[in-house]
Subunit: 203 residues, 2 copies
DNA sequence: AAGAGCATGTAACCTGTTACATGATTAT
DNA sequence: ATAATCATGTAACAGGTTACATGCTCTT
């Protein structure tokens, strides 16, 4: 799902200007979808050009006019179609896990720092979600509560996993020689998939 | 962290050709980092050009020669630097959660299907991880075990969250009128941030 | 006085994805 | 026979990020 569609979705709930949408992205969707002005404004322009939204300009004193976008019937239909199309994705991209994979090439101070800041980042997610949900009325939409709860649950599980398993990771101590790996790795891909021509895969 | 760096990291453990790296991405990193041939081959070419890896061609019968890449000292240093640079990211991008946010615009059959296939996708992740880790020796690197365990923990937590909370989501039944939202949403962003010029934000 | 917030956007860039192109060998 | 595996890559495209450009008002 691209940002255009997501903007359209938000506009199916309330009319808004680009600035408003950015704030919604940063409150509601922060833990699973990112978007900056550089994507939102062009997206709104495209939506308007395609007739999926209408734009009404509200002049203001001393600021650029608010361009308030509201969804059209055509836009609503378009969004319904998007909701009914194929298998939605759910993708994690984590440099943190990459680094943890290479933990034994990290020195121990750095490793502990990375683990601590990841835990604290998850704490930030939890705090952020709590912060936004606290102001919600009790009849707030189920979908919103579900995705907020999902974020909390993930942050909690991740934190717990890290705290319970960080002890298995040991970076090397800083005073040892650098630049040389001291541990020979087992090849973790499937055993013996290498043609005979390839030599010296290690144990 | 870009794919180039990650390839370099894998090459810091074992020499490999592009095809091998792809397989490693798909076994070890599948749950948190994706990469296709279209990124890997150009990445390897760039690394070689930058002198961070050496390339040795191993001719084969009836196939293109294997281009086996091995890391250089310069490459190893470069990778260490990457591991020691700033705050690694950890980003989720989920169309699934987007759709759940808009659950009440989904019809109920579709909603249940989405939830079921997401649960089953997480089951697939768990199976995949179990599958690869089962073949690992008991002294396999701690980093590899940590990231595999992380993936399992997340899949488990996500599945549990979905099963325990799916009941709060109700799509509309299919025989009702389509294209019109029947529920007026409360604006979930901060209360009263709208300038007076903006009208008719709802309760 | 300084900084945050409101409000718009563009343009160049970076990065990765998808589809294409080729073709023998091995397992089912 | 058919499909999967091995093995290389390119080229066009899509999509999002970052930096830039502007400027008033309200809060601290």
């Amino acid at each position: 799902m691209d940002i255009k569609t997501l903007c359209l979705g938000l506009l199916s709930l309330n009319e808004a200007c680009g600035y408003d949408l950015k704030k919604k992205f940063e409150s509601l969707f922060k833990h699973f979808f990112a978007a900056g002005y550089g994507s939102i404004y062009p997206a709104l322009a495209d939506l308007a050009e395609a007739g999926l939204v209408d734009c009404r300009e509200v002049p203001q004193n001393g600021r650029p006019a608010r361009k308030v976008y509201s969804i059209t019937e055509s836009g609503r239909k378009h969004f319904q179609d998007a909701l009914n199309s194929a298998n939605p994705t759910h993708k994690l991209r984590s440099d943190f896990l990459v680094m943890m994979y290479f933990a034994d090439q990290l020195d121990n101070d750095r490793l502990q720092l990375l683990l601590n800041s990841r835990v604290s980042a998850f704490g930030g997610v939890t705090a952020h979600i709590k912060n936004i949900t606290d102001s919600w009325p009790s009849d707030s939409p189920a979908g919103a509560r579900f995705v907020a709860g999902f974020g909390e649950a993930m942050a909690k599980a991740a934190t717990q996993y890290i705290e319970e398993n960080r002890h298995i990771l040991k970076g090397h101590s800083q005073d040892q020689a650098k630049g040389q790996p001291r541990i020979r790795h087992t090849d973790l891909s499937q055993a013996n998939h290498q043609p005979a021509a390839t030599i010296e895969e290690r144990v």
